[in-house]
């Protein structure tokens, strides 16, 4: 048993699932991720994307981050993908599916993907020491509460990321207004 799991068991949490689960979810995420970019039909791609998002949510659950998993389902799978589908259905798909799947700069994209993968590999192999093994110190409080105290602070103390969080929400507000202004000709 690895130490993280050990700590989790000690903290009163039963193991969520076996590694077997991890491989299934990861495989599903990758396979459907590939399907997203290879399907000609946009709706099929969107459905594959939903599967990806859901399997990633499952991975979050395995990481003892149920809140993130829940938000992932609500916001991405439930909200954003419905809007995606909404837009896709309004678009003339027949023509989209006749277009070339990969345009001329696909080698560049491939190179970028490979570079990213190399970076990840490098980080995992070389930088292990950089990342503290947080699994060792799973606290008593739940993941949701941890996120809350990170963002909003507790007992009158400002949270670590309160400012950044507020800035981010402001940014989103600006983005929303921008979208409205760009689409509406007259306001």
């Amino acid at each position: 048993m690895n130490p993280a799991l050990n700590a989790a068991v000690n903290a009163g949490m039963a193991p969520v699932a076996t590694p077997w689960f991890f491989y299934v979810l990861a495989g599903l995420a990758v396979a459907s991720g590939v399907a997203v970019i290879t399907r000609r039909n946009a709706v099929h791609s969107a459905l594959a994307l939903i599967v990806t998002l859901l399997s990633v949510a499952g991975l979050y659950l395995m990481l003892y981050a149920p809140f993130v998993a829940g938000v992932q389902i609500i916001v991405y799978a439930g909200g954003i993908m419905v809007l995606f589908l909404f837009v896709i259905m309004l678009v003339n798909i027949d023509r989209a599916s006749k277009d070339r799947q990969f345009n001329r700069i696909w080698p560049v994209g491939l190179a970028a993907a490979c570079a990213l993968m190399a970076l990840f590999a490098f980080a995992i192999v070389k930088g292990k020491a950089l990342f503290p093994d947080r699994g060792l110190s799973l606290p008593e409080s739940s993941n949701t509460q941890q996120i809350a105290s990170m963002l909003y602070g507790e007992a009158g103390r400002m949270g670590q990321y309160t400012f950044a969080f507020e800035i981010a929400s402001l940014l989103l507000l600006v983005a929303i207004l921008g979208a409205v202004i760009m689409t509406k000709k007259k306001i």
């Binding site: 149920p66 389902i73 609500i74 419905v82 509460q145």
Partner: protein, 431 residues
């Protein structure tokens, strides 16, 4: 008996929490089979009968006494029907769409708290999980409308997706204000767990519908409206508005696949009603739990399940007695009498358990009595909502699309936001 069975019988937590996979599976089975049967048979029959009586009709009367077996006949018919997939449809998506909706609405049942230990699992993000998964149900509708490759289903799907996305916002905010109320305790920490929310009501000694009157009531009302929209029922059934879009998103569906949509709709009705019950109506608690908690009252309340069955059995007996005396009705009369006897037997068992379980708190009978009590009160409250759903359908015309959107965004969203803020302010002041 094996250890893993007996060990759990005395447990006070859900099987998921106790890590008892066997009992978790048993619960899943009971709930799924129960829901499927209830939805397919009882809810279908009750909706048709109640609707018929609202509309000065009798409803189904032929298959079985008072049409009791009609849902089975219909189910059989639907199963045996040819499964038609239009040639122009997107075969795979068309095939998979009803399953998405069904899966979403049934998965929700894993976290519904029928009682403190009568749930599959007590997930610590229970309510979030419920909202998230039930919002996946719309994907089934959207995808079904698109895959049919036909204009009416497409418009139905578009309407449905816009409607769901709009109403989920108001619904979510109403839910948040209920969650906020759970944190009005000594430690100041709330919970997202469904059981936790009901327990918070237990500890605070008040159903959240009455908390910070009228804030709780308004939030509840917002949710009660939004949940009708979420389940695509009258007056928000625009996605399947039969007079405009023939049948909306399931116009091209037939047979079993169509019935899966219906099953999903009914299952979703029960699911959202359960959320409302758990969040605002005290979940498994009987009425006035803080005032009427003496053992005598507990005993009186524990008689309710048995008495309800006695009542239903009596109605069935009267129905059997009032059957016309022609020979044609003989089988029906006997059938109804047998049905009544069965109900009477259940009532007897329930009453025996209630009386036997009265004495101690440790005996198996007491455990059973408690469990039955919890489930009974929970389901009774859900049943009220189901009846409301049917009542709405009989009474109201359908909203138009722009009106629906206007209500969602311009009325319900501001109100729920305001309620949320006021709840927070009042909460801070009170604590």
């Amino acid at each position: 008996m094996p250890d893993f069975i007996t060990s759990y019988l005395g447990s006070k937590v859900t099987p998921g929490e106790a890590g008892n996979q066997f009992w978790a599976l048993v619960y899943v089975f009971i709930i799924f089979a129960g829901v499927a049967l209830t939805v397919m048979w009882l809810l279908n029959w009750i909706e048709r009968k109640a609707l018929a009586h609202f509309q000065v009709r009798l409803g189904p009367m032929r298959v079985g006494p008072h049409g009791l077996l009609q849902p089975f006949a219909d189910a059989l018919k639907l199963i045996l029907k040819e499964d038609i997939i239009p040639t122009e449809a997107d075969q795979f998506v068309f095939w998979v769409a009803p399953l998405i909706g069904l899966l979403a609405s049934f998965t929700v049942y894993t976290v519904i708290p029928f009682g403190p230990s009568q749930a599959v699992s007590d997930m610590n993000i229970g309510i979030l999980f419920m909202l998230g998964v039930s919002s996946l149900g719309v994907l089934g509708i959207v995808v079904a409308g698109w895959a049919s490759n036909s204009h009416y289903p497409l418009i139905g799907a578009l309407r449905s997706s816009a409607q769901m996305v709009s109403y989920e916002v108001a619904m979510g905010l109403a839910v948040v204000s209920a969650i906020l109320m759970t944190s009005m305790n000594a430690s100041g920490t709330g919970t997202l767990s469904m059981l936790g929310i009901v327990r918070a009501q237990q500890q605070q000694g008040i159903w959240f519908i009455f908390k910070f009157f009228p804030l709780g009531l308004i939030a509840f009302a917002i949710f009660a409206i939004a949940m009708v929209a979420e389940t695509n029922r009258t007056p928000f059934d625009l996605a399947e508005a039969e007079s405009e879009l023939t049948a909306g998103y399931h116009t091209e569906y037939s047979g079993l696949r169509w019935s899966l949509f219906m099953l999903a709709e009914y299952a979703a009705m029960i699911a959202v009603s359960s959320i409302a019950v758990a969040l605002w109506l005290g979940g498994w608690m009987h009425p006035f739990p803080n005032l009427l908690s003496s053992p005598t009252w507990e005993f009186i309340f524990s008689l309710f399940p048995g008495l309800t069955f006695v009542g239903v059995a009596a109605i069935a007996f009267i129905g059997a007695a009032r059957m016309p005396s022609q020979s044609f009705f003989r089988i029906q009369r006997i059938g109804l009498a047998v049905f009544a006897a069965l109900l009477g037997f259940i009532a007897l068992v329930l009453l025996v358990i209630a009386v036997a379980g009265r004495s101690g708190d440790t005996s198996l009978a007491a455990r059973f009595r408690e469990g039955i009590d919890y489930v009974y009160w929970f389901l009774l409250k859900v049943a009220v909502f189901i009846y409301l759903f049917i009542w709405y359908r009989a009474t109201w015309p359908r909203y138009r699309f722009d009106q629906l959107m206007r209500i969602g965004w311009k009325v319900m969203l501001p109100i729920s936001l305001g309620v949320l803020m006021l709840t927070a302010i009042v909460g801070v002041i009170v604590s």
